[in-house]
C-alpha cells in the first residue's frame, strides 16, 4: 500500500494541508479525496446514544484527530467502524468499498488497522512473537501448510527482519525476547502500535496512543507518525493530549455526546467556542484562547488554581 519510503519529506504533508485548506470547517464537511466516508452511524446502549454521527469523512493521507471529552463516544465509534461493535444504523465505506456489517478481521484485511484504548498485547507471547502476529498473508498460518516449515520459513525470516527494524524504531528492541506481559504500560502502547504497523495498514487507527508514554518518547513517536504519513498512510487517532493533537494533526474532528460538533484545522478548532463548551461545560468564564493558548493550557491552569 505504501509508496516509496524515500519520498521527499514534507511533500505529502504540505499536499494534504493544501487539499484541506479548501475544506470548509463545518461538521461533516466533504473532503476532496476521502479514504473513509461514514453516514448516519448510530449506536446506543439502552437509552444512551453513544454514537450519532450523521456524516464523516477522512482525507486520504492525512493525520486526522478525533477529540472530545470523556464519554463522547470516540472509542465506541472506532469499535463500530472496525466491526467490533454492531451499530444500530449506518453505512460506511473505506477506499470505496462498503464495510458495514463486515466482520472485524475482514475490516483489518481491507487495511483499516486499529489499536485499543485498553492495550491488548498478548501477555504470554514474547514481544517479537507479538510483532510477527501482525504480519498479513502468512502462509504458515494455514493449518496444513503449517506442518511443513519449508513452506513458511523464508517468509517468517522476512517478517522477523521487518519486526526487528520496527522494534528498533519504537524503542523496544532491547525487550524483544521478553514476554509482552512483563512490559510497562507505556511499552505496551508502543508494542501495540508497532504490531499494527506490521500489518501494513492503509489507515492506522490509534485510540489514545500516547496515554502513558513518557514525554521524551512521545516526541520521537510524533516524528515517527509524521514519517508514516510521508509513506502515504492515513492516520486517524483519538487523543486527549492537545499538544500532540496540535503538533501533528492536519485536521481535527470534535465529538461530544455522540455527535460531531466541530471540524477544522487544529488551531481553529481549539478556538471554537462550541468545542470549549463541550470540554469545560457551557458556563465557563475562561477567555477564549486568542493568543494561540490551547485547551490543555487552560485546563492545566484550571487544575492548578484548584489545587492551590
Amino acid at each position: 500500500m505504501s509508496d516509496s519510503p524515500a519520498a521527499p519529506s514534507r511533500t505529502k504533508a504540505s499536499g494534504v494541508k493544501a487539499a484541506l485548506a479548501s475544506v470548509s470547517p463545518v461538521p461533516g464537511a466533504p473532503k476532496p479525496d476521502a479514504i473513509f466516508v461514514g453516514d448516519s452511524i448510530t449506536r446506543s446502549f439502552g437509552g444512551l446514544a453513544a454514537v450519532d454521527v450523521s456524516h464523516l469523512e477522512v482525507q486520504r493521507g492525512s493525520i486526522t484527530a478525533l477529540i472530545g471529552p470523556n464519554g463522547a463516544g470516540k472509542t465506541t465509534f472506532f469499535n463500530v467502524i472496525t466491526g467490533f461493535d454492531p451499530p444500530n444504523t449506518g453505512t460506511w465505506s473505506f477506499e470505496g468499498s462498503s464495510l458495514a456489517g463486515t466482520p472485524a478481521y475482514k475490516v483489518a484485511r481491507e487495511g483499516m488497522i486499529r489499536t485499543f484504548q485498553l492495550t491488548k498485547v498478548l501477555n504470554k507471547l514474547t514481544v517479537l512473537e507479538n510483532m510477527r502476529l501482525g504480519a498479513q498473508g502468512q502462509s504458515g498460518e494455514s493449518l496444513f501448510r503449517a506442518l511443513i516449515p519449508a513452506i513458511w520459513r523464508k517468509q517468517e525470516d522476512e517478517i522477523t527482519e521487518r519486526a526487528l527494524g520496527m522494534l528498533e524504531q519504537f524503542n523496544l528492541f532491547h525487550v524483544k525476547d521478553e514476554f509482552a506481559g512483563s512490559l510497562s504500560g507505556g511499552q505496551r502502547k508502543l508494542l501495540e502500535m508497532a504490531r499494527a504497523m506490521m500489518s501494513n495498514p492503509s489507515m492506522l487507527m490509534l485510540d489514545e496512543p500516547m496515554a502513558g508514554v513518557n514525554p521524551a518518547l512521545t516526541q520521537s513517536l510524533l516524528e515517527h507518525i509524521k514519517e508514516l504519513r510521508e509513506t502515504g498512510i492515513t492516520i486517524f487517532f483519538v487523543e486527549h493530549d492537545m499538544d500532540m493533537v496540535r503538533d501533528i494533526s492536519d485536521w481535527v474532528i470534535v465529538m461530544a455526546q455522540g455527535s460531531i460538533i466541530a471540524e477544522g484545522p487544529p488551531a481553529d478548532v481549539m478556538r471554537n467556542p462550541a468545542v470549549i463548551d463541550a470540554y469545560l461545560g457551557a458556563h465557563h468564564d475562561v477567555a477564549l484562547t486568542e493568543s494561540g493558548e490551547s485547551l490543555t493550557d487552560t485546563s492545566v491552569s484550571l487544575t492548578k488554581s484548584e489545587e492551590s
Binding site: G83, A104, N123, R132, E141, A146, L147, G181, S182
Partner: protein, 330 residues
C-alpha cells in the same frame, strides 16, 4: 502379592493401555484448552464416537478396521462442527456448557433401550472385532520381566498406541511452533487483538476444536480395540476430568505435558491402590482403620490430595513455566 508385584503392576500401568488412552484424550485437550483456551468438557463424547464408530461398523457391519477408523474421524469432525458452529462465536463458557451436555447426550443415546439392537444398550458391544488387526501382530510372545509385564496382545496394543502418541506429539510440536500455532496461542490470550490483526478467529477455534476432538476420538478407538468391547459408562464425564487432570499435571500448553502427565497419573493411581491393598492384606494397616473394600475410595482420595499438593507447590505442572504463569497475576 508382594512389593515387587506392586511395583511391577504400577510400572506396567504407567506405560499401559490406560495411560495411552488418557494421554490421547489429554493431547486433544492440550490443543483445545492448552493452546487455544477452548474449554471442551466433552472429550468423553469424542472418545465415545471413536469407540462406537469402530464397534458398530466392524462388529455389526463387518467393515475393515481402517475404514472404521476413517468413519470414526469423520464422526468426530461432525461432532466438533455441531458443537462449534453455534458456540464458538459466543463467550468461552458457552462451549463448556454445550460440550459437557453433548457428551452426556452421546452416552445416554448409546445406552438407550430403543437403540439396543445397534449400540447394545448399557452393556455396549463386545466381540472379537479387531481380530484382523491382532492377527497382524508379529510378536511371538508377550513380555514378562521383573519390571513390566504385558500379554502378547497387550504388547501389540501398547506398541501401536505409543507410536500413535508419538506421531501426534510430533504433529503438535510442528503445529505449535508454526505461525498457525502462534495464532492459537494469541487467541487464548485475547481474541479481539487477533481479530484486529486480520485473522479469522472463528475458523482457528473451529480447527482447534476439531483437531483436538479427532485426537480424542483416537483415545476411544484404542480403548475399544484394546478391550475388544465398548461400554457407554466408560465415556462419562470422569474420563474428561481425568484427562484434564493428566493435562494439568504434565503442564498445559507443553507438547510433552500429556505424555508425562498420563504416565505419572497412572503410576500413582495404581501404585497407591495396590500399595494400600498390600498393606491392608499384610496387616500393616489394621482393618479397623481401612477395610479392603474401602481401598478404592482412599486410593482416589490420596491421588486427589497429591494433585492438590502439586497445584499448590507447582501450579504450572511438571513442564510448565512459572514465569509464564506469573503473568496472569499482573
Amino acid at each position: 502379592m508382594d512389593w515387587l508385584t506392586v511395583f511391577q503392576n504400577s510400572l506396567t500401568q504407567m506405560i499401559g493401555v490406560s495411560a495411552i488412552i488418557y494421554c490421547l484424550a489429554a493431547l486433544g485437550l492440550n490443543i483445545q484448552f492448552g493452546y487455544t483456551g477452548l474449554l471442551n468438557f466433552g472429550q468423553a463424547g469424542f472418545a465415545a464416537i471413536g469407540a462406537y464408530a469402530i464397534a458398530v461398523t466392524v462388529a455389526t457391519l463387518g467393515w475393515p478396521l481402517w475404514l472404521a477408523l476413517l468413519f470414526g474421524i469423520l464422526g468426530a469432525i461432525i461432532f466438533a462442527l455441531l458443537l462449534g458452529i453455534p458456540t464458538l462465536r459466543l463467550r468461552a463458557d458457552y462451549l463448556a456448557i454445550v460440550t459437557i451436555a453433548a457428551a452426556e447426550i452421546i452416552r445416554q443415546v448409546a445406552r438407550s433401550v430403543s437403540l439396543n439392537d445397534y449400540l447394545g444398550g448399557s452393556d455396549g458391544i463386545s466381540g472379537k472385532y479387531a481380530a484382523d488387526w491382532y492377527a497382524l501382530n508379529p510378536l511371538p510372545v508377550g513380555i514378562d520381566t521383573a519390571l513390566i509385564r504385558f500379554s502378547r496382545n497387550d504388547l501389540w496394543v501398547v506398541i501401536n498406541g505409543w507410536t500413535l502418541v508419538a506421531i501426534i506429539v510430533l504433529l503438535t510440536w510442528l503445529l505449535v511452533r508454526s505461525p498457525w500455532g502462534r495464532v492459537l496461542k494469541s487467541i487464548r490470550e485475547d481474541e479481539d487483538a487477533v481479530r484486529s490483526l486480520g485473522k479469522n478467529v472463528y475458523l482457528y477455534k473451529m480447527q482447534a476444536l476439531t483437531l483436538g476432538g479427532v485426537i480424542g476420538a483416537f483415545a476411544g478407538v484404542i480403548f475399544a480395540v484394546a478391550a475388544q468391547s465398548v461400554q457407554p459408562d466408560n465415556y462419562s464425564t470422569t474420563l474428561t476430568f481425568f484427562a484434564y487432570a493428566v493435562l494439568i499435571l504434565g503442564g498445559a500448553a507443553r507438547v510433552f505435558g500429556p505424555v508425562v502427565g498420563s504416565m505419572i497419573f497412572w503410576f500413582l493411581l495404581v501404585f497407591v491402590g495396590q500399595a494400600l491393598n498390600n498393606a491392608v492384606k499384610a496387616g500393616y494397616i489394621s482393618s479397623s482403620i481401612l477395610r479392603p473394600d474401602q481401598v478404592g475410595q482412599v486410593q482416589f482420595m490420596l491421588v486427589g490430595l497429591g494433585l492438590m499438593a502439586l497445584m499448590i507447590f507447582r501450579p504450572q505442572g511438571i513442564f510448565g513455566d512459572k514465569k509464564e504463569l506469573a503473568l496472569d497475576e499482573r
